[in-house]
Amino acid sequence: MNGPANSSIWVGTRKGLFAVRKGASGWEVGMPSFPGEPVSQFVRDPQTGACYAALRLGHFGVKLWKSQDGSNGSGEWKQVASPAFPAKPEEGEWKDDATPWNVDMIWALAAGHGTLWAGCLPAGLFKSDDGGESWALVESLWLRPERKEWMGGGYDHAGIHSIAIDPRDANHVTIAISCGGVWQTHDGGKTWANTSKGMIADFMPPERKEDGNIQDVHCMKMCAAESEVLWAQNHFGIYRSTDAGKQWNRIGSPQPTDFGFAVAVHPRDARTAWFVPAHSDQRRIPVDGRMVITRTRDGGDSFETIGDGLPERDAYHLVYRHALDVGDDGDTLAMGSTTGGLWVSEDGGAEWTCVSRDLPPIAVVRVA
Protein backbone atom coordinates (compact mmCIF):
# COMPACT_ATOMS: atom_id res chain seq x y z
CA MET A 1 0.00 0.00 0.00
CA ASN A 2 1.18 3.50 -0.75
CA GLY A 3 1.29 6.12 1.93
CA PRO A 4 3.80 6.74 4.67
CA ALA A 5 5.42 3.67 6.17
CA ASN A 6 3.65 2.15 9.15
CA SER A 7 0.34 3.77 8.16
CA SER A 8 -1.22 0.58 6.86
CA ILE A 9 -2.09 -2.73 8.43
CA TRP A 10 -3.01 -5.88 6.58
CA VAL A 11 -5.51 -7.94 8.57
CA GLY A 12 -6.23 -11.51 7.56
CA THR A 13 -9.50 -12.77 8.98
CA ARG A 14 -11.97 -15.62 8.86
CA LYS A 15 -13.98 -13.59 6.32
CA GLY A 16 -11.46 -11.80 4.15
CA LEU A 17 -8.34 -9.64 3.99
CA PHE A 18 -8.63 -6.07 5.16
CA ALA A 19 -6.22 -3.26 4.25
CA VAL A 20 -6.62 -0.93 7.23
CA ARG A 21 -5.20 2.50 6.58
CA LYS A 22 -4.56 5.59 8.60
CA GLY A 23 -6.68 8.40 7.25
CA ALA A 24 -7.31 11.96 8.27
CA SER A 25 -9.81 10.92 10.90
CA GLY A 26 -8.05 7.81 12.16
CA TRP A 27 -7.67 4.20 11.17
CA GLU A 28 -10.15 3.12 8.50
CA VAL A 29 -11.11 -0.49 7.88
CA GLY A 30 -12.57 -0.44 4.36
CA MET A 31 -13.89 -3.31 2.30
CA PRO A 32 -12.06 -6.63 2.32
CA SER A 33 -10.42 -8.47 -0.49
CA PHE A 34 -11.71 -12.08 -0.68
CA PRO A 35 -14.93 -11.15 1.19
CA GLY A 36 -16.28 -14.11 3.11
CA GLU A 37 -13.17 -16.25 2.62
CA PRO A 38 -10.80 -17.39 5.39
CA VAL A 39 -7.34 -15.85 5.14
CA SER A 40 -4.67 -17.70 7.10
CA GLN A 41 -1.52 -15.78 6.20
CA PHE A 42 -0.18 -12.72 4.47
CA VAL A 43 3.25 -11.46 3.53
CA ARG A 44 4.68 -8.60 1.54
CA ASP A 45 7.97 -9.24 -0.25
CA PRO A 46 10.08 -6.23 0.76
CA GLN A 47 12.24 -6.50 -2.38
CA THR A 48 9.55 -6.75 -5.03
CA GLY A 49 6.58 -5.23 -3.22
CA ALA A 50 4.47 -8.24 -4.16
CA CYS A 51 1.83 -9.24 -1.61
CA TYR A 52 0.72 -12.80 -1.00
CA ALA A 53 -2.49 -13.87 0.71
CA ALA A 54 -3.09 -17.47 1.71
CA LEU A 55 -6.67 -18.67 1.82
CA ARG A 56 -7.95 -21.78 3.54
CA LEU A 57 -11.26 -22.44 1.83
CA GLY A 58 -13.52 -24.69 3.86
CA HIS A 59 -14.64 -26.70 0.86
CA PHE A 60 -11.94 -26.27 -1.72
CA GLY A 61 -8.68 -26.21 0.17
CA VAL A 62 -5.68 -23.96 0.28
CA LYS A 63 -5.22 -21.25 -2.31
CA LEU A 64 -2.58 -18.56 -2.72
CA TRP A 65 -3.18 -15.17 -4.27
CA LYS A 66 -0.69 -12.54 -5.32
CA SER A 67 -0.95 -8.84 -5.88
CA GLN A 68 2.00 -7.27 -7.59
CA ASP A 69 0.60 -3.85 -6.92
CA GLY A 70 -0.62 -3.74 -3.33
CA SER A 71 -0.48 0.00 -3.62
CA ASN A 72 -4.07 0.84 -2.89
CA GLY A 73 -5.02 -2.04 -0.71
CA SER A 74 -7.54 -3.32 -3.24
CA GLY A 75 -5.08 -3.99 -6.01
CA GLU A 76 -5.53 -6.72 -8.56
CA TRP A 77 -5.14 -10.13 -7.05
CA LYS A 78 -4.39 -13.14 -9.19
CA GLN A 79 -4.30 -16.72 -8.07
CA VAL A 80 -0.91 -18.38 -8.20
CA ALA A 81 0.14 -21.93 -7.46
CA SER A 82 -0.26 -23.11 -3.89
CA PRO A 83 2.03 -25.53 -2.11
CA ALA A 84 0.95 -29.14 -2.51
CA PHE A 85 2.48 -32.42 -1.45
CA PRO A 86 3.59 -34.95 -4.03
CA ALA A 87 1.97 -38.38 -4.17
CA LYS A 88 2.43 -40.26 -0.92
CA PRO A 89 4.79 -43.19 -1.43
CA GLU A 90 3.22 -46.60 -1.73
CA GLU A 91 6.41 -48.32 -0.61
CA GLY A 92 9.14 -47.64 1.85
CA GLU A 93 9.49 -45.84 5.12
CA TRP A 94 6.64 -43.39 4.64
CA LYS A 95 3.97 -45.50 3.05
CA ASP A 96 2.04 -45.76 6.31
CA ASP A 97 2.70 -42.19 7.39
CA ALA A 98 -0.07 -41.25 9.83
CA THR A 99 0.17 -37.65 8.67
CA PRO A 100 -1.88 -36.95 5.58
CA TRP A 101 0.08 -35.67 2.61
CA ASN A 102 -2.36 -32.86 1.99
CA VAL A 103 -1.76 -29.20 2.75
CA ASP A 104 -4.53 -28.17 5.10
CA MET A 105 -3.35 -24.62 5.76
CA ILE A 106 -0.55 -22.23 4.84
CA TRP A 107 0.51 -21.21 8.36
CA ALA A 108 3.64 -19.18 7.66
CA LEU A 109 4.79 -17.08 4.74
CA ALA A 110 8.16 -15.38 4.45
CA ALA A 111 9.92 -13.66 1.57
CA GLY A 112 13.56 -12.72 1.22
CA HIS A 113 16.50 -12.87 -1.16
CA GLY A 114 14.18 -13.67 -4.07
CA THR A 115 12.70 -16.76 -2.42
CA LEU A 116 9.24 -17.29 -1.01
CA TRP A 117 8.89 -19.81 1.81
CA ALA A 118 5.63 -21.36 2.99
CA GLY A 119 5.25 -23.26 6.22
CA CYS A 120 2.20 -25.46 6.26
CA LEU A 121 0.01 -27.67 8.37
CA PRO A 122 0.77 -30.58 8.20
CA ALA A 123 4.39 -29.52 8.73
CA GLY A 124 5.66 -29.33 5.20
CA LEU A 125 7.99 -26.52 4.20
CA PHE A 126 7.82 -25.33 0.62
CA LYS A 127 9.88 -22.87 -1.35
CA SER A 128 9.28 -20.93 -4.52
CA ASP A 129 11.97 -19.16 -6.51
CA ASP A 130 9.57 -17.72 -9.08
CA GLY A 131 7.22 -15.60 -7.06
CA GLY A 132 4.69 -18.32 -6.33
CA GLU A 133 4.30 -19.65 -9.87
CA SER A 134 5.62 -23.01 -8.68
CA TRP A 135 6.49 -24.62 -5.39
CA ALA A 136 8.80 -27.40 -4.26
CA LEU A 137 8.45 -29.39 -1.07
CA VAL A 138 11.60 -29.22 1.03
CA GLU A 139 11.95 -32.97 1.24
CA SER A 140 15.12 -32.78 3.28
CA LEU A 141 12.93 -31.65 6.18
CA TRP A 142 9.67 -33.50 5.38
CA LEU A 143 11.45 -36.84 5.18
CA ARG A 144 13.45 -36.43 8.39
CA PRO A 145 12.74 -39.48 10.56
CA GLU A 146 12.27 -37.11 13.50
CA ARG A 147 9.00 -35.96 11.93
CA LYS A 148 7.36 -39.16 13.13
CA GLU A 149 7.60 -37.77 16.66
CA TRP A 150 6.22 -34.31 15.89
CA MET A 151 2.80 -33.69 17.41
CA GLY A 152 -0.09 -31.42 16.71
CA GLY A 153 -0.37 -28.31 18.87
CA GLY A 154 -3.99 -27.23 18.80
CA TYR A 155 -4.45 -29.11 15.55
CA ASP A 156 -4.48 -32.78 14.64
CA HIS A 157 -1.01 -32.58 13.13
CA ALA A 158 2.19 -30.60 13.57
CA GLY A 159 2.55 -27.38 11.60
CA ILE A 160 5.24 -24.85 10.67
CA HIS A 161 4.10 -21.44 11.90
CA SER A 162 7.26 -19.34 11.98
CA ILE A 163 9.92 -18.75 9.35
CA ALA A 164 12.83 -16.38 9.90
CA ILE A 165 15.09 -15.62 6.95
CA ASP A 166 18.51 -14.29 7.86
CA PRO A 167 18.75 -10.89 6.12
CA ARG A 168 22.49 -11.39 5.73
CA ASP A 169 22.40 -14.89 4.30
CA ALA A 170 19.83 -16.29 1.89
CA ASN A 171 20.84 -19.82 2.78
CA HIS A 172 20.16 -19.40 6.49
CA VAL A 173 16.55 -19.98 7.46
CA THR A 174 15.12 -20.79 10.88
CA ILE A 175 11.69 -22.31 11.34
CA ALA A 176 9.59 -23.27 14.32
CA ILE A 177 7.09 -26.10 14.55
CA SER A 178 4.23 -26.75 16.92
CA CYS A 179 5.09 -29.26 18.20
CA GLY A 180 8.44 -30.04 16.67
CA GLY A 181 10.89 -27.50 18.00
CA VAL A 182 13.15 -25.09 16.14
CA TRP A 183 15.03 -26.19 13.02
CA GLN A 184 17.64 -24.37 10.94
CA THR A 185 19.30 -24.67 7.58
CA HIS A 186 22.50 -22.96 6.52
CA ASP A 187 22.47 -24.28 2.98
CA GLY A 188 19.19 -23.11 1.58
CA GLY A 189 17.23 -26.10 2.79
CA LYS A 190 19.46 -28.97 1.74
CA THR A 191 20.18 -29.98 5.32
CA TRP A 192 18.58 -29.18 8.67
CA ALA A 193 19.48 -29.28 12.34
CA ASN A 194 17.22 -29.05 15.35
CA THR A 195 18.27 -26.04 17.42
CA SER A 196 15.99 -26.09 20.45
CA LYS A 197 18.57 -26.55 23.21
CA GLY A 198 17.42 -24.94 26.41
CA MET A 199 13.69 -25.22 25.72
CA ILE A 200 11.72 -27.31 28.16
CA ALA A 201 8.33 -28.87 27.44
CA ASP A 202 6.61 -29.02 30.80
CA PHE A 203 3.75 -31.05 29.38
CA MET A 204 5.96 -34.01 28.51
CA PRO A 205 7.09 -36.94 30.68
CA PRO A 206 10.19 -35.92 32.64
CA GLU A 207 12.66 -37.84 30.51
CA ARG A 208 11.39 -36.12 27.35
CA LYS A 209 11.00 -32.54 28.64
CA GLU A 210 14.21 -31.34 27.02
CA ASP A 211 13.74 -33.20 23.76
CA GLY A 212 14.16 -30.58 21.07
CA ASN A 213 12.04 -32.55 18.66
CA ILE A 214 8.75 -32.07 20.54
CA GLN A 215 8.95 -28.49 21.81
CA ASP A 216 5.73 -26.55 21.39
CA VAL A 217 6.87 -23.22 20.07
CA HIS A 218 3.82 -21.02 19.53
CA CYS A 219 5.59 -18.25 17.66
CA MET A 220 9.21 -17.33 16.95
CA LYS A 221 10.51 -14.00 15.69
CA MET A 222 13.94 -12.69 14.78
CA CYS A 223 15.25 -9.17 15.35
CA ALA A 224 15.66 -7.80 11.83
CA ALA A 225 18.75 -5.74 12.63
CA GLU A 226 20.39 -8.26 14.94
CA SER A 227 19.49 -11.57 13.44
CA GLU A 228 21.46 -13.52 16.03
CA VAL A 229 18.67 -12.66 18.46
CA LEU A 230 15.51 -14.76 18.37
CA TRP A 231 12.53 -14.64 20.68
CA ALA A 232 9.99 -17.42 21.17
CA GLN A 233 6.64 -17.60 22.89
CA ASN A 234 6.24 -21.27 23.75
CA HIS A 235 3.32 -23.13 25.20
CA PHE A 236 5.16 -23.04 28.47
CA GLY A 237 7.26 -19.95 28.77
CA ILE A 238 9.07 -17.26 26.88
CA TYR A 239 12.54 -17.91 25.48
CA ARG A 240 15.32 -15.82 23.97
CA SER A 241 18.45 -16.77 22.09
CA THR A 242 21.36 -14.43 21.45
CA ASP A 243 23.38 -16.89 19.37
CA ALA A 244 21.01 -17.59 16.48
CA GLY A 245 19.23 -20.38 18.28
CA LYS A 246 22.12 -22.52 19.39
CA GLN A 247 21.05 -21.95 22.99
CA TRP A 248 17.68 -20.77 24.25
CA ASN A 249 17.25 -19.18 27.66
CA ARG A 250 13.96 -19.14 29.49
CA ILE A 251 12.85 -15.67 30.45
CA GLY A 252 11.52 -15.08 33.95
CA SER A 253 7.76 -14.70 34.17
CA PRO A 254 6.37 -11.30 33.42
CA GLN A 255 3.16 -10.24 35.13
CA PRO A 256 0.45 -11.27 34.82
CA THR A 257 1.66 -14.41 33.02
CA ASP A 258 4.07 -15.77 30.43
CA PHE A 259 1.40 -17.80 28.65
CA GLY A 260 0.33 -16.62 25.23
CA PHE A 261 0.64 -17.21 21.52
CA ALA A 262 2.15 -14.13 19.90
CA VAL A 263 5.42 -12.24 20.08
CA ALA A 264 6.67 -9.11 18.34
CA VAL A 265 10.31 -8.02 18.29
CA HIS A 266 11.61 -4.51 17.77
CA PRO A 267 13.20 -4.37 14.31
CA ARG A 268 16.35 -2.67 15.55
CA ASP A 269 16.50 -3.15 19.30
CA ALA A 270 16.94 -6.84 20.03
CA ARG A 271 16.28 -6.27 23.71
CA THR A 272 12.71 -5.07 23.13
CA ALA A 273 9.84 -7.46 22.58
CA TRP A 274 6.10 -7.56 23.21
CA PHE A 275 3.77 -10.35 24.28
CA VAL A 276 0.03 -10.72 24.85
CA PRO A 277 -0.57 -12.72 28.02
CA ALA A 278 -3.52 -14.99 28.65
CA HIS A 279 -4.29 -16.56 32.01
CA SER A 280 -2.91 -20.04 31.37
CA ASP A 281 -2.97 -23.13 29.23
CA GLN A 282 -6.13 -24.17 31.07
CA ARG A 283 -7.78 -20.75 30.73
CA ARG A 284 -6.93 -18.99 27.49
CA ILE A 285 -8.51 -15.68 28.28
CA PRO A 286 -7.15 -12.44 29.77
CA VAL A 287 -6.44 -12.46 33.47
CA ASP A 288 -9.38 -10.98 35.40
CA GLY A 289 -11.04 -9.89 32.19
CA ARG A 290 -8.39 -7.20 31.64
CA MET A 291 -6.50 -7.12 28.39
CA VAL A 292 -2.85 -6.09 28.65
CA ILE A 293 0.43 -6.28 26.81
CA THR A 294 3.76 -7.13 28.37
CA ARG A 295 6.87 -5.41 27.07
CA THR A 296 10.52 -5.88 27.88
CA ARG A 297 13.19 -3.39 26.88
CA ASP A 298 16.12 -5.11 28.53
CA GLY A 299 16.19 -8.50 26.94
CA GLY A 300 13.71 -10.01 29.34
CA ASP A 301 15.36 -9.01 32.62
CA SER A 302 12.24 -7.04 33.42
CA PHE A 303 8.80 -6.45 31.95
CA GLU A 304 6.23 -3.69 31.96
CA THR A 305 2.53 -4.49 31.96
CA ILE A 306 1.04 -1.84 29.70
CA GLY A 307 -1.94 -1.11 27.50
CA ASP A 308 -3.91 2.06 28.18
CA GLY A 309 -6.95 2.01 25.95
CA LEU A 310 -7.29 -1.77 25.96
CA PRO A 311 -10.45 -3.16 27.59
CA GLU A 312 -10.04 -3.30 31.37
CA ARG A 313 -12.95 -5.49 32.37
CA ASP A 314 -15.21 -8.19 31.01
CA ALA A 315 -12.81 -8.75 28.14
CA TYR A 316 -12.30 -12.24 26.73
CA HIS A 317 -10.15 -11.59 23.71
CA LEU A 318 -7.41 -13.97 22.66
CA VAL A 319 -4.62 -12.86 20.34
CA TYR A 320 -3.47 -15.73 18.24
CA ARG A 321 0.10 -16.39 17.19
CA HIS A 322 0.23 -14.31 14.00
CA ALA A 323 -1.96 -11.49 15.18
CA LEU A 324 0.60 -9.19 16.79
CA ASP A 325 3.01 -7.22 14.69
CA VAL A 326 5.30 -4.20 14.95
CA GLY A 327 6.16 -1.90 12.08
CA ASP A 328 9.67 -1.08 11.00
CA ASP A 329 9.48 2.16 12.99
CA GLY A 330 9.47 0.07 16.15
CA ASP A 331 6.58 2.13 17.52
CA THR A 332 3.51 1.12 15.54
CA LEU A 333 1.96 -2.09 16.78
CA ALA A 334 -1.18 -3.84 15.64
CA MET A 335 -2.99 -6.58 17.47
CA GLY A 336 -6.02 -8.60 16.39
CA SER A 337 -8.12 -11.03 18.37
CA THR A 338 -10.04 -14.19 17.65
CA THR A 339 -13.08 -12.19 18.75
CA GLY A 340 -12.66 -9.74 15.87
CA GLY A 341 -11.08 -6.88 17.80
CA LEU A 342 -8.33 -4.81 16.21
CA TRP A 343 -6.18 -2.43 18.22
CA VAL A 344 -3.31 -0.18 17.17
CA SER A 345 -0.61 1.53 19.21
CA GLU A 346 1.65 4.22 17.83
CA ASP A 347 3.90 4.60 20.85
CA GLY A 348 5.41 1.22 21.33
CA GLY A 349 2.47 -0.32 23.11
CA ALA A 350 1.80 2.12 25.95
CA GLU A 351 -1.45 3.47 24.52
CA TRP A 352 -3.86 1.71 22.22
CA THR A 353 -6.74 2.72 19.99
CA CYS A 354 -9.52 0.30 19.19
CA VAL A 355 -9.98 0.30 15.43
CA SER A 356 -12.84 -2.17 15.43
CA ARG A 357 -14.62 -4.73 17.57
CA ASP A 358 -16.71 -5.98 14.69
CA LEU A 359 -14.25 -7.76 12.46
CA PRO A 360 -14.31 -11.48 11.85
CA PRO A 361 -11.89 -13.62 13.87
CA ILE A 362 -8.39 -12.39 13.08
CA ALA A 363 -5.64 -14.81 12.10
CA VAL A 364 -2.85 -12.49 11.04
CA VAL A 365 -1.87 -8.81 11.14
CA ARG A 366 1.04 -7.16 9.36
CA VAL A 367 2.05 -3.52 9.74
CA ALA A 368 3.17 -2.10 6.40
Binding site: L57, G58, H59, F60, G61, K63, Q79, S82, A84, F85, P86, A87, K88, P100, W101, N102, V103
Partner: protein, 89 residues
Protein backbone atom coordinates in the same frame (compact mmCIF):
# COMPACT_ATOMS: atom_id res chain seq x y z
CA UNK B 1 -19.97 -39.24 -24.31
CA UNK B 2 -20.39 -38.55 -20.57
CA UNK B 3 -21.33 -35.06 -19.55
CA UNK B 4 -19.51 -33.14 -16.78
CA UNK B 5 -20.84 -30.13 -14.97
CA UNK B 6 -19.60 -28.14 -11.97
CA UNK B 7 -22.00 -26.33 -9.65
CA UNK B 8 -21.94 -22.53 -9.45
CA UNK B 9 -20.28 -22.80 -6.03
CA UNK B 10 -17.24 -24.06 -7.93
CA UNK B 11 -17.52 -22.12 -11.18
CA UNK B 12 -17.61 -18.85 -9.26
CA UNK B 13 -13.97 -19.60 -8.47
CA UNK B 14 -12.94 -21.09 -11.81
CA UNK B 15 -14.95 -20.73 -15.00
CA UNK B 16 -15.78 -24.09 -16.51
CA UNK B 17 -18.74 -24.64 -18.78
CA UNK B 18 -20.70 -27.90 -18.81
CA UNK B 19 -19.16 -30.18 -21.40
CA UNK B 20 -19.26 -33.58 -23.00
CA UNK B 21 -15.98 -35.41 -22.52
CA UNK B 22 -14.31 -38.33 -24.18
CA UNK B 23 -13.89 -40.57 -21.12
CA UNK B 24 -14.65 -44.07 -19.89
CA UNK B 25 -14.17 -43.54 -16.16
CA UNK B 26 -14.92 -40.84 -13.64
CA UNK B 27 -11.22 -40.08 -13.23
CA UNK B 28 -10.82 -39.64 -16.97
CA UNK B 29 -13.92 -37.48 -17.18
CA UNK B 30 -12.67 -35.14 -14.48
CA UNK B 31 -9.22 -35.04 -16.08
CA UNK B 32 -10.71 -34.00 -19.43
CA UNK B 33 -12.72 -31.29 -17.74
CA UNK B 34 -9.60 -30.08 -15.93
CA UNK B 35 -7.77 -29.94 -19.28
CA UNK B 36 -10.25 -27.28 -20.24
CA UNK B 37 -10.03 -25.51 -16.89
CA UNK B 38 -6.74 -26.40 -15.19
CA UNK B 39 -7.43 -24.18 -12.22
CA UNK B 40 -10.43 -26.31 -11.28
CA UNK B 41 -8.37 -29.38 -10.44
CA UNK B 42 -7.23 -28.35 -7.00
CA UNK B 43 -10.66 -27.07 -6.07
CA UNK B 44 -12.07 -30.56 -6.59
CA UNK B 45 -9.15 -32.87 -5.81
CA UNK B 46 -6.67 -32.74 -2.94
CA UNK B 47 -2.90 -33.12 -3.17
CA UNK B 48 -3.27 -36.90 -3.49
CA UNK B 49 -5.79 -36.73 -6.30
CA UNK B 50 -8.76 -37.70 -4.11
CA UNK B 51 -12.05 -35.86 -4.12
CA UNK B 52 -11.95 -33.26 -1.34
CA UNK B 53 -13.83 -34.05 1.84
CA UNK B 54 -16.33 -31.24 1.34
CA UNK B 55 -16.91 -31.73 -2.39
CA UNK B 56 -19.49 -34.22 -3.61
CA UNK B 57 -19.56 -35.98 -6.96
CA UNK B 58 -22.75 -37.41 -8.42
CA UNK B 59 -23.12 -39.76 -11.37
CA UNK B 60 -26.68 -39.67 -12.66
CA UNK B 61 -27.84 -38.27 -9.31
CA UNK B 62 -26.16 -41.02 -7.27
CA UNK B 63 -23.41 -39.77 -4.97
CA UNK B 64 -19.99 -41.30 -5.37
CA UNK B 65 -18.93 -42.37 -1.90
CA UNK B 66 -15.39 -43.55 -2.57
CA UNK B 67 -13.28 -40.42 -2.80
CA UNK B 68 -10.06 -42.24 -3.57
CA UNK B 69 -10.75 -44.82 -6.26
CA UNK B 70 -12.18 -42.82 -9.11
CA UNK B 71 -11.94 -45.44 -11.83
CA UNK B 72 -15.72 -45.77 -11.79
CA UNK B 73 -16.86 -46.80 -15.29
CA UNK B 74 -18.97 -44.32 -17.16
CA UNK B 75 -21.47 -45.01 -19.93
CA UNK B 76 -22.21 -42.82 -22.88
CA UNK B 77 -24.70 -40.20 -21.74
CA UNK B 78 -23.88 -40.48 -18.03
CA UNK B 79 -24.15 -37.19 -16.23
CA UNK B 80 -21.39 -36.22 -13.77
CA UNK B 81 -22.19 -33.36 -11.42
CA UNK B 82 -19.63 -31.91 -8.99
CA UNK B 83 -20.98 -29.80 -6.16
CA UNK B 84 -19.92 -28.15 -2.94
CA UNK B 85 -21.06 -30.38 -0.10
CA UNK B 86 -23.06 -28.78 2.69
CA UNK B 87 -20.55 -30.08 5.20
CA UNK B 88 -17.64 -27.76 5.76
CA UNK B 89 -19.58 -24.54 5.80
Amino acid sequence: MPHVEFAPALTRHVACAPQDVDAHTLREALARAFDAAPGMRNYVLDDQGCVRKHVAVFINSRMVTDRTHLDVPLERGDNVMVIQALTGG
